[in-house]
Symmetry: C2
Subunit: 785 residues, 2 copies
C-alpha cells in the first residue's frame, strides 16, 4: 500500500504532486496510456530512470516453452508472453554537456497529471543540471483513441538562468534490456532480445524499424516522424541501425526561448503481412497523423472521451477521493478496450507485463459487464475476439476428449497457456462465463447479427461442453465433478455451485437461442433432442446444501472441511498461497475470493433473500480476499443483503486497488477486473442493478457517507440515467424508445413523454455486519467521514 498523498484529489485528473523515484514502477502503471491497441507505460520521456520500460501491442507475443517436472496428457507445451516492443517514447535531452537525468542535478519541480477528460498525460519539470543550468520541460503524451495506430508526444524545452545548448535525441529502441520474465532459464532465454531485426530506415525526420519474433513469427513495424514548431534554426539529423533509429535535434536557446516539436509514433504488427506491407502501413499511419496534426489529435481525443463520459460517468457526492478513483477506474477500463477490435482485453490491459499479458475469465466476468452497459461496441469486439478463437477451443476440447469447445484459462492467442491444470483446465467455469457475457451483451443490445452468428456458436459449443463435463447420476441429478470454481483455494471439487448454476444458465441460454434461430442452429448440428437435453441437464443440476448449517455449500462437502486457524495465521502469511501448500488450502474452509458469494450475485435468482444473507455471512468469515477479484463481488452482495457500510468499504478496496497499490503489485500493471468491479459495485451494488431476465431491475441503496450517486447506462439503444439520493431513486430515459424497468420488483414505465420517474428507496434489511477472518478486515477501513 502507498500513501493517500502520492496523488492529489481532483474530480477529473490524477495529479502526482512530486516525483518519488522508488515509486516509478508504480506510477508508470497508473500513468500508462493505451487505446486497447497500443499501450505505453508512463515511463519518463528521457527513458531513465525507469521501473519497467514498457511498450505493448495488443496480441503481440512470443512463444516460449512451458516446462513440466512431470508432464501429463493435455499439459500445454508452450506459453505466450506479451513482449515489450520497440520503444518510441524515448526523447533523450542533453542540456549543455549534461544528460537530463532526474537522478542527478536538482529537481526543482516535477508534476505529472493524467487528464481523464483530455486523455493525455502532462508533465512539467524544472530541473537544474549539476553544472547549474536550469531547464523547464513540458511534455504532453497521448495514445490516440481516434487513430488506433498512433501515439504522439508534444515536447517543449526552455532554459532558464541563462542560455543553453539543447540536443534532443528522439528514438525508437528495440530489445531494451528488461527484468527476467521467468525463473525458467529456457523461458528467459526465449525472451532475451526476442525481436530479430529485419529492416531499419530513416529519411529526414522520419525513421523506422521492422522486427520479427523468433518463435511466434510475428512482425512489428515501428515508425516515427517529427514536426518542429520552433525555433526555425534546429539542426537535425537522422540515422538508423538494426535496433535503434534516432532523429537528433540540436539548437541553442536563449532564456525564454523554447524548442517545441511533436513526435508522432506509429505501430503496425501482423502474423501475415509482408515486411513492405507492414512498413507501408506504419508510414501511412504517420502520414495520416501528420495531416491531422497535434491539435487535431488532441481535439479528437477530447471528443472521443466526451462521448464516453456522457455514456459512462458515475457521479458520487460525498467522497471526492472515491469519485476520482472511480473515474480513474472507468478510464482504465476504456483504455484497455476502446480499440482492441478483435483482440483480447488482458488482465492488466496494456499497462504492464503482469500475468504475461494474458487474458482470463476476468474479461467476460468483470470487464464486459461494465462495457456492455457503457460501451457496447467494445464489449462486442471482445466477444468477437473470443469467438475468433473458437476453433482452438474446439480443438482443445477434443484434445481433452470432451465435446464442444473449452476456452483457455489464460492466453493471448487463444491457445491454453496454463501450467497448472487444477486451476486452469479444471476451471471449466470460464466457458459459462463467456457464454453469459455473450447472453448479457445480446440481452442488453438485441444485436441480432451477433445473436444469430457468434453468440449462437459460442452458446451451442459451450452447452455441448457442459453436457460432456457433467453427467446424470442414478437419482437423475446432473452432476459436475472434479472441477474448480472461482475460489483458487479450492480445486477439483464436486458440484461447485457457481460452476453448476452458470453451466445451467449456459445450457438454458443455448436452448433459448437455438430455438430462436432453428435454421442456423441446425447448421451447427443442433436438433430438438439436443436442445431438450440441455434443458433437462439445467433443470437437474445439483446444488449442494448443508442441512444442518442451513448453508449452501461452495461445493459438495465443503462445509465438512477443516476450519482454517485464522487466529494462528500472522499477517505476513498473506497471500496464503505463498506460505501454505495447495494441499492445506484445498482441504480447508478458506476462500481466496468470492465463489459461492459470486453465485449469490451472478445467479441471484436461484436463492431466496434469506438464504443469500445466511450464505454471505458464512462465507464472509472465511474469505481472505487474496485475489483482487473478490472485494467488488463481496461488496455487491453485501449491499444486497443489507451490509451497506461493508459494501462501501469494499468499494474503496476495489476502487483504490491501484491508486493506493493495495495489492502491492500495481507496478506490473493495473488490476483491470477490480477497476471494472468498482463500476459494478456502484451500479449493481448501490444501484442494485440485476439483469437476469428480460428487463433491468434496480434495488438502490446508498451508504451513509454518500449523499447522491448517479450513473448512466446504455440499454437496447436507449440511454438511461439513474440517480440515487438518500430517500428516492430517479430514473430518466435520456433518449430512445419507451422502456419498462423494475424498481424493487415494481414496474416503472419510461417513455419520451414520461421520461423521468422517481420512487422511494426501500429500507435495507437491518443486519449486524459479519466479521472477516482475523486480520483480513477491509484495508482502508471505513474511509474518514
Amino acid at each position: 500500500m502507498i500513501g493517500a498523498d502520492v496523488f492529489g484529489v481532483d474530480p477529473w485528473t490524477v495529479p502526482e504532486q512530486r516525483l518519488q523515484l522508488d515509486l516509478l514502477a508504480h506510477t508508470e502503471s497508473v500513468f500508462a496510456l493505451s487505446n486497447g491497441h497500443i499501450g505505453l507505460r508512463g515511463n519518463l520521456d528521457e527513458g531513465e530512470p525507469s521501473g519497467h520500460a514498457g511498450t505493448y501491442l495488443n496480441g503481440f507475443y512470443e512463444s516460449r516453452p512451458l516446462p513440466h517436472a512431470e508432464a501429463a496428457y493435455g499439459d500445454p507445451e508452450s506459453g505466450e508472453t506479451m513482449l515489450n516492443v520497440t520503444n518510441g517514447k524515448v526523447l533523450r535531452l542533453l542540456v549543455d554537456d549534461e544528460p537530463f537525468d532526474l537522478r542527478y542535478g536538482t529537481v526543482e519541480h516535477h508534476e505529472r497529471t493524467l487528464d481523464l477528460r483530455a486523455g493525455v498525460l502532462r508533465r512539467e519539470v524544472r530541473w537544474r543540471s549539476p553544472a547549474g543550468q536550469g531547464v523547464i520541460l513540458r511534455t504532453t503524451r497521448l495514445v490516440s483513441f481516434a487513430q488506433r495506430a498512433v501515439a504522439a508526444i508534444r515536447y517543449e524545452v526552455e532554459p532558464y538562468d541563462g542560455p543553453a545548448r539543447i540536443v534532443v535525441q528522439s528514438e525508437l529502441i528495440a530489445n531494451e534490456p528488461g527484468p527476467e520474465a521467468s525463473d525458467d532459464p529456457r523461458a528467459a532465454a526465449a525472451l532475451v532480445r526476442p525481436l530479430q531485426a529485419e529492416q531499419h530506415h530513416h529519411r529526414e525526420l522520419r525513421a523506422g524499424l521492422v522486427h520479427v519474433t523468433r518463435a511466434s513469427r510475428l512482425r512489428v513495424s515501428a515508425g516515427m516522424d517529427h514536426v518542429i514548431e520552433r525555433p526555425q534554426d534546429v539542426v537535425t539529423s537522422a540515422e538508423s541501425e538494426p535496433d535503434l533509429a534516432r532523429v537528433t535535434l540540436a539548437t541553442e536557446l536563449r532564456e525564454g526561448e523554447t524548442l517545441c516539436f511533436v513526435k508522432l509514433i506509429a505501430y503496425g504488427w501482423s502474423s501475415q503481412r509482408s515486411l513492405p506491407a507492414l512498413r507501408d502501413q506504419t508510414d501511412a499511419a504517420l502520414a495520416a497523423a501528420l495531416r491531422t496534426g497535434w491539435d487535431g489529435l488532441v481535439a479528437s481525443q477530447r471528443s472521443y472521451l466526451d462521448e464516453f463520459w456522457d455514456r459512462a460517468d458515475v457521479e458520487l457526492d460525498g467522497d471526492p477521493a472515491l469519485q476520482q478513483a472511480l473515474r480513474f477506474a472507468l478510464f482504465s477500463v476504456l483504455q484497455s478496450a476502446a480499440r482492441a477490435e478483435g483482440r483480447a482485453i488482458p488482465a492488466k490491459g496494456l499497462t504492464g507485463s503482469g500475468y504475461d499479458g494474458h487474458s482470463f475469465w476476468d474479461m467476460e466476468t468483470y470487464t464486459l459487464p461494465m462495457l456492455t452497459y457503457v460501451a457496447p461496441t467494445a464489449a462486442r469486439d471482445a466477444l468477437l475476439w473470443r469467438h475468433s478463437t473458437l476453433a482452438l477451443a474446439q480443438a482443445r476440447a477434443s484434445e481433452l476428449r470432451l465435446a464442444g469447445a473449452t476456452f483457455p484459462w489464460r492466453t493471448i492467442s487463444g491457445h491454453e497457456c496454463s501450467g497448472y491444470w487444477p486451476a486452469s483446465t479444471a476451471a471449466f467455469h470460464v466457458n459459462a462465463d463467456i457464454a453469459d457475457a455473450a447472453r448479457r451483451y445480446l440481452s442488453a443490445t438485441h444485436d441480432e447479427t451477433f445473436g444469430r452468428g457468434a453468440a449462437l456458436e459460442l452458446l451451442v459449443e459451450t452447452a455441448r461442453l457442459w453436457r460432456s463435463v457433467g453427467h446424470h447420476d442414478a437419482a437423475g441429478y446432473f452432476r459436475i465433478d472434479g472441477v474448480t470454481g472461482p475460489d483458487e483455494y479450492s480445486a477439483l471439487a464436486g458440484n461447485n455451485v457457481y460452476t453448476n448454476l452458470m453451466a445451467a444458465r449456459n445450457l438454458r441460454a443455448a436452448a433459448t437461442l437455438a430455438a430462436q434461430h432453428p435454421r442456423r442452429a441446425a447448421r451447427l448440428g443442433v436438433d430438438e433432442e439436443e436442445i431438450a437435453g440441455w434443458r433437462d441437464a439445467a433443470d437437474a443440476i445439483v446444488i449442494p446444501f448443508d442441512d444442518e448449517l442451513q448453508v449452501t455449500q461452495q461445493s459438495e462437502l465443503f462445509t465438512r472441511l477443516r476450519q482454517w486457524d485464522f487466529a494462528a495465521t500472522p499477517a505476513e502469511q498473506y497471500p496464503l498461497l505463498l506460505h501454505h501448500p495447495y494441499y492445506s488450502l484445498y482441504s480447508s474452509q478458506v476462500v481466496k475470493q468470492a465463489d459461492l458469494v459470486f453465485a449469490l450475485y451472478a445467479c441471484g435468482d436461484a436463492f431466496s433473500a434469506e438464504q443469500k444473507a445466511r450464505d454471505f455471512e458464512y462465507y464472509e468469515r472465511i474469505t481472505v480476499r487474496d485475489s483482487s477479484l473478490s472485494a467488488c463481488v463481496q461488496a455487491i452482495v453485501a449491499a444486497e443483503v443489507g451490509h451497506t457500510e461493508l459494501a462501501y468499504e469494499y468499494l474503496a478496496e476495489t476502487a483504490f486497488i491501484d491508486l493506493r497499490d493495495l495489492a502491492s503489485n500495481t507496478k506490473d500493471g493495473v488490476h483491470l477486473a477490480a477497476l471494472a468491479g468498482a463500476w459494478l459495485v456502484a451500479v449493481a451494488g448501490f444501484g442494485g442493478l440485476r439483469d437476469h431476465g428480460d428487463r433491468l431491475e434496480f434495488s438502490p441503496r446508498l451508504p451513509a457517507r454518500l449523499t447522491r450517486m448517479s450513473f448512466r447506462l446504455t440499454y437496447r439503444g436507449r440511454r438511461l440515467c439513474v440517480t440515487v439520493g438518500r430517500a428516492r431513486a430517479r430514473y430518466e430515459l435520456l433518449d430512445g424508445d419507451a422502456l419498462e424497468i423494475g424498481h424493487e420488483g415494481e414496474t416503472v414505465a419510461l417513455s419520451a413523454a414520461e421520461h423521468v420517474q422517481t420512487r422511494p428507496l426501500a429500507p435495507p434489511p437491518a443486519r449486524a455486519p459479519p466479521a472477516q477472518p482475523s486480520g483480513r478486515e477491509p484495508p482502508l477501513g471505513r474511509p474518514q467521514r
Copy 2:
C-alpha cells in the same frame, strides 16, 4: 509383451535360447545382477551393441533442477537421478583384426543363462568373424552377495578353425554416452557427463578411476584387477586417463588353446570420505577378492543363495513356467535388497534407470511384506534407511505446515523429488505404509531394539502427521480430506478408505507401542493425552459407504462420479493416462490400481466377508490395471472372496511381468513390487496368510491348475513350512519354539514334539467370477492346461 519362447522353462535357471538384438534392452534388465549395493545390467561383455548400458550403486545420484510451469509453495525445486556410474563390465575382444561384435560376422551359437541358485550369469558364444575366424567365448559374471563391494567376471576365449591373435581390453569407462534422461534440457544438461574426473591410476593389472558428481558432490571410486589363469605368455599392459582405465591382454592361441582370466571389479562411494580414503577402500576390496579368488567367490555366492532358498522358496506343482517365474521374482527381490544395508530399495532395484532410480511406497507395501517373512534382516535394513531420513521428513512436514513427519513420495536421498503434488504430496498414505511396515516387521520378529528405537520414532511421528492432516467434524467423525490414495486415477478426494484405515492403524499402532515404551515415548514428548488423541481419532475415522449400492466408496462420493465408457475406449488408449487428461480420470469411476480393494486386503479386519465380495465385484469391473502394482492385490482378494481361478490369472500377470514384458517397459528395469507381489499372491492369496493381530492366520485354497504349493516363512525366530494340497494343508514347524497359528480361524498348536499338523481345506465360497472392464481381461488369459 514378448513371446513365451524368449526364455526356456527350467525350475532353477532362466535360459535365453538365442540372442535377439531387438530385445537387448529387455534382456539386460532380466539378466541384471545385483546384491542391493552394486547393480550391473546384463550388458554384453564387449559393451556393444547394448540397449541401455547400466552400472548402478545404491544411493548414488546426481541432483538436477525440477522445472515448474507455475511453481507453488512446497514444490520441490530439485530432483535426483540415479547415475550410470563407471562401467567395469567391459571386455573388448579383438580376434585377429576384427572386433568381436555380434552385429557383424556370424553368430553360430549364443546362450545366456541366469542361474538362480548359483547367482551367476553364464554366457557361451560361438562366433565367426567376417574374415572367417571362429572363436568360442565363455563368461561367467557375478555380483557378490558375500563381498558387497565386489563383482567378478571369469572370461574364457578359444579359437576354432585355426589359430588366432587375441587381444582383450578390460576397461573401466566413465561418462558413457546414454539416452537423454529427461525432456527438460536443464535436467538433461545436468546429466550429460555427470561424473567429474578426480583421479586415474594403473599399475600392473590393476587400475582405477575416481570421479565426483557436480551438484550432489558424491564421490565414486571404481577399481579393477585381473588374475590370468592361462596361457603363460600373455603380454599385458595398463593405462589410464580421466574417463578410461584399460588393461590389455594380448596373446596368440592355437585351436583348442584358451585364454582364461578373472576380472575383479570393486566400487566404493561416499559423500564424506576423501579421495585417498575411497581409493584405498576400493583397492582393499580388490585385495580381499584376490585372496578369496574366483572359486571362493562362486562358493560363497552359492552358499548365500542356498540359505536364502532354504528360507524363501515357494514350490508350485502343476505349472513349471509359473514355478520358474516365481523363483525369478524371489531372486529379483533378493538382489534388490540383500546388501542394501542402510540404503533404499528402488522400484526397479538396480536393474535399470526407470523412475530415475527412486524408491516409492512400493518398498514398504510390496517388497518388505515379503522380506519380513523370508529375509527379515533385509527388511530391517530398509526400514532403518527410512528411519535415517526421518529428519528430512520432519522438515518436509514443517515446510507443509503439518506436524510430525511426512516422507517423500519418491526419492533417493530422502528428499521429496516429485514434480506433481496431487500424486505425491497429497498421497499421504505413504506414511501409514511405512508405519505399517515397521509394525509388521516388529510383530513378525519381536526385534525389541528396533521396536523401542526406530519403530517408535517412525510410528509417533507419522501418528502426529495424521492428527494434523485429519480433523474432527461437527458430528465427531475424524475426516481426512483432499488426499490421494493408491489409485492414481483419483486424487485430492475426501476420506479415501485405504488412507483412512491405514491411518487409523498407524494411530493405534503408535498408541500401543508408545504405551509399551513409556519412557522412550516421553523423550519424544508423547504423553497420555496425545496417545488418547490417537486412539480417539482412529476410532472416529470416516469410512464412506454408499447405502443404495451397498458398496464401500473408494473415497467420499466416488460412486456418484461419471461412469467411464469402457466400450468406447480402444485398446491403444491404455494406459489411459497417456491418452486422457487427469481431469477426466479423476472425475470418473475408473481405477488405475487396487485402492479400495487394497484396503480389503491390507485392512481386511475392517470388512465382513460379504462386504469384501460385494466391494471386490464392484471395483473389479472398473479397475484397468494400468499399474503393475495392481494385479497381485486383486489376486489376493480374488482368492479370499472365492475367485480362485481369477486369482491364478492375476498371479500369472504379476509373476510374468518381466519375463513376458507385460508392461512393455522392462527395458527400464524389472518391476520389483509386482515381483514381490507374486510371492504375496502365493502366500497371502493361495496360502491365505493374514497377520493383522498377534498370530499368523491361514485360509489356504488352491487354484485348479496346481496340485500342491509349499512355502516357507520365518516368524519370531521360527521357520515354518506350509504345504497346501488339493484337500489338506500341512503346517510344519521346521525349527524354533512352540507356536500357535490359525487355520480358518481355528487354533493350531505347533511344537518341537508336534511339529506337523494337517487340516482340511475349507471349501471356497462359490461365486461367479466378476468381469473386468472391456478389453482389460488378464493378458495371459487362463494359462494353458
